[in-house]
């Protein structure tokens, strides 16, 4: 399969990239390309211009800034998965990164590319919702920060404006325990259902608990019903099982040949329960 013809641009600075994005009609941004190029090969996407961010080291970093870990948008999944800093400060993010695709995909695919592509079955969104992350977008008009809860607006749709680039992901240092569990599609490895839990457990009771789900609806979401059912409750298997029943509440659950809506909703409850149990177990 061969993509349709396009013009190729490889900026070396952010300003240059932003100018290209503002000036070129029908342009797509190429990060790792592991979502975009398959779509172009299938001719589901045929942009006139590709702006390749592959040679912008200024967008490839992981660093600590106070109580936040900042990741450049072009940081690869492998860099996230293998980073000592991420492993120490936001292990939930490293765990989610380690389940994306396979080794070859993680070597090339980027966190920014994945988020901007906004596949409803991607792994990162669940973790970033549970961690309370935010995204930094830049355009010739300036920089702005978008909370993870406001970033995903629909199927393959985000809050990014046409002239904005996602340049950084900011993740607060993880408080308490975490776990990411997914039921991968047996062929694609994408999450049929993926659940990320960030939980503070003290004295055998839940403090702050956040639960992010991906794959279930058209956008990733925080399971408010689960979170409120757990607040202040004992960290017991019974309380967890009861709360996990709320995982698909209020969501128009995806329905396809592999996983009909009722089965997917069932998986959402089961994986929410398992991820909560694992997070509690890890809390010690």
């Amino acid at each position: 399969m061969i993509p349709a013809a396009f013009e190729y641009h490889r900026p070396s600075t952010l300003d240059e990239a932003l100018k290209l994005l503002a000036d070129l009609p029908d342009a797509k941004v190429l990060a790792g390309g592991h979502s975009l190029l398959p779509l172009m090969k299938l001719r589901l996407a045929s942009p006139a211009h590709l702006i390749d961010l592959g040679r912008m080291p200024a967008l490839r970093y992981i660093r600590r800034e106070g109580d936040t870990v900042a990741l450049g948008a072009m940081t690869t999944h492998w860099m996230v998965e293998s980073s000592d800093l991420v492993g120490r400060t936001v292990p939930l993010l490293a765990e989610a990164a380690s389940t994306v695709g396979d080794v070859q995909v993680r070597n090339v695919g980027t966190i920014g590319g994945s988020l901007a592509h906004a596949d409803p079955a991607a792994d990162y969104p669940a973790a970033l919702l549970a961690l309370g992350a935010s995204m930094v977008a830049q355009s010739p008009r300036g920089r702005r920060t978008i909370e993870a809860t406001a970033f995903f607006t629909g199927l393959f749709a985000t809050a990014l404006a046409p002239d904005e680039l996602l340049v950084e992901i900011r993740v607060p240092v993880q408080r308490g325990s975490g776990a990411y569990m997914k039921f991968p599609h047996p062929a694609s490895g994408f999450a049929v259902v993926g659940v990320a839990v960030s939980a503070v457990v003290a004295g055998g009771r839940f403090g702050d608990v956040r639960v992010g789900l991906t794959g279930v609806g058209s956008v990733p979401y925080r399971a408010g019903g689960v979170e409120s059912a757990l607040a202040g409750q004992p960290a017991s298997p019974e309380a967890i099982a009861a709360a996990a029943e709320h995982a698909p509440d209020g969501v128009d659950v995806n329905d396809d040949l592999f996983a009909p809506a009722d089965y997917r909703a069932h998986l959402a409850r089961v994986y929410t329960k398992r991820a909560l149990l694992l997070a509690v177990e890890r809390a010690g």
């Binding site: 013009e7 190729y8 390309g33 190029l37 398959p38 695709g101 080794v103 070859q104 070597n107 090339v108």
Partner: protein, 163 residues
């Protein structure tokens, strides 16, 4: 509009002018004639087209040749030196790691990536690392054995420093 690219493949420098939409695997196979890198599924799933791009295992059906400009590439043709098989090739030979052989180049290059990161992998780590490479013949056990063989051989050749 074509773009000039310079890539070093198996330690040889190549300069070509390529169409931006040319995929790296077709650049290797058709422009350079290095047909050891196979096209299997053409959808980033099977791993038959895996090469090392600047030391990282990648699926060359999902990379544009222009993205590889300035890079160093290792393909299966670059493994043997002076007529002697690379330890990973020797492993596949000795442990019967292939039947039809179609997946083998990609398997070996992905395995090399694993051994560079994890010189003494467990069977579980080997299987996890080869998650992106499909084999429809062997049932994988002989491939795991082959990688274990190569790991031992590479460690013997380059033992880790003692303290």
């Amino acid at each position: 509009m074509n773009h000039p690219i310079t890539v070093t493949v198996n330690q040889r420098v190549h300069q070509h002018s390529v169409e931006p939409r040319l995929l790296l695997v077709y650049f290797l196979r058709e422009t350079l004639g290095l047909t050891g890198t196979h096209v299997g599924c053409d959808t980033t799933s099977c791993g038959a087209c895996t090469i090392l791009l600047d030391g990282q295992a990648v699926k060359s059906c999902t990379v544009l040749a222009v993205q590889a400009d300035g890079s160093e590439i290792l393909t299966v043709e670059g493994l043997a030196r002076d007529g002697a098989l690379h330890p990973i090739q020797e492993g596949f030979w000795e442990e019967h790691g292939l039947q039809c052989g179609f997946c083998t180049p990609g398997m070996m290059l992905t395995a090399l990536q694993l051994l560079a990161r994890t010189p003494d992998p467990t069977d579980r780590q080997i299987r996890h690392a080869l998650d992106g490479n499909l084999c429809r013949c062997t049932g994988y056990q002989h491939i795991v054995n082959s990688v274990r063989y190569a790991a031992r051989k590479l460690r013997d050749a380059d033992p880790p420093e003692s303290q």
